[in-house]
Symmetry: C2
């Protein structure tokens, strides 16, 4: 563990993230963060000038983790198959595996939390969310371009739309999982997304008699 | 317009709903509601004992509107076809039409907003959200039971899961639409959900050569 204060910074970010997902950002006071972490106000202000800077640092860290997962899972999928359709199916399958290991309801997505109190944040903070969603659209979208070039879809679709749909499935399933207290929803809905791709690109054999 | 004060009550609820979707509930003060509606504190407290009662009334009204739409669209779909699969496709298509008429990004869903600051509310208020999601699962799920009895799906699925998936698509697409400022996302993602059902239940002709 580094002794340069970065451990304290991470501790503040971890505690704030959990608090924000249940209380909202406006509903999370500095006192709540101090109580949760057991640090002093002085130590807090050594790391962050205030709540605005904390909000920005929190979403930047969340975005970095999210994009690191995206790249790591895509790299694994690319190692596991040469075929772009198989790569997409494996990529989604890896997320499905990870979601399937959840034993508690998903705690929620910081992007969604910020989106529903967007007026609490400056445009640059909200911009981090858009940049992250754009990166997903580009990375997964370019993979779908390759899929569409190799496999004619059975219904008209576009690459960016298919990529965005995965973001929608994640965000929606998180809300259902969190509200219902059901851990299994996220993996189940990722499986539906994967089913859709398999049917759309004809991986599933046609039914008998057609 | 009734003169019994119910117009004022509706005005308070309308203003609060817009404020909450952008500022969060904790970030929406009584003063903001009074400024937005131009009513006095006395008039406010004539209608609501405080923010807690307002939160409950707001989500109850939202749930009633949501379930009224569900029933109205389902009734129209049932009049337009006798076939359960066509009924589901029409039902989703009606929502797709309504979403396609949006010219501004979707303002957001109050359920999602509450879900991301759940600790601001009492269990009964959060319970309204679960009851609403359950009602969707039952109403649309029983329709999918009839579909599954008549049409063998090309991949293993269950009725409740298919019904829940529509809730996920709505909630996720709202977040994407709101964050990106893109009105067209909701209709586009409902169309993907509809594509999935068509492919899953074999309405789309099999590709040539299979």
């Amino acid at each position: 563990m580094p002794r340069d204060g970065s451990a304290t910074r991470e501790r503040i970010l971890n505690a704030t993230e959990s608090l924000v997902l249940d209380h909202g950002f406006a509903g999370t006071s500095l006192d709540m963060v101090l109580t949760e972490t057991g640090i002093t106000k002085g130590a807090f202000f050594y790391h962050f000038r205030g709540k605005g800077e904390l909000a920005r640092a929190l979403v930047e860290r969340y975005s970095e983790q999210d994009l690191a997962n995206l790249e790591a899972y895509m790299a694994r999928a690319e190692r596991l198959s040469r075929d772009p359709l198989q790569q997409v199916l494996i990529f989604v399958g890896l997320y499905e595996e990870a979601a399937g290991a959840l034993t508690e309801p998903y705690p929620g997505c910081l992007f969604a939390s910020y989106c529903y109190e967007s007026r609490q944040f400056d445009p640059a903070t909200i911009g981090v969310i858009n940049t992250t969603f754009d990166r997903w659209r580009e990375r997964l979208g370019s993979k779908f371009e390759a899929v569409l070039a190799a496999y004619p879809p059975r219904l008209p679709v576009d690459a960016a739309g298919l990529a965005d749909l995965l973001t929608t499935v994640f965000e929606g399933a998180f809300i259902l999982s969190k509200t219902r207290g059901e851990p299994e929803v996220v993996a189940a809905h990722l499986r539906h997304y994967r089913n859709y791709l398999e049917l759309l690109f004809g991986v599933v054999p046609a039914p008998e008699g057609t």
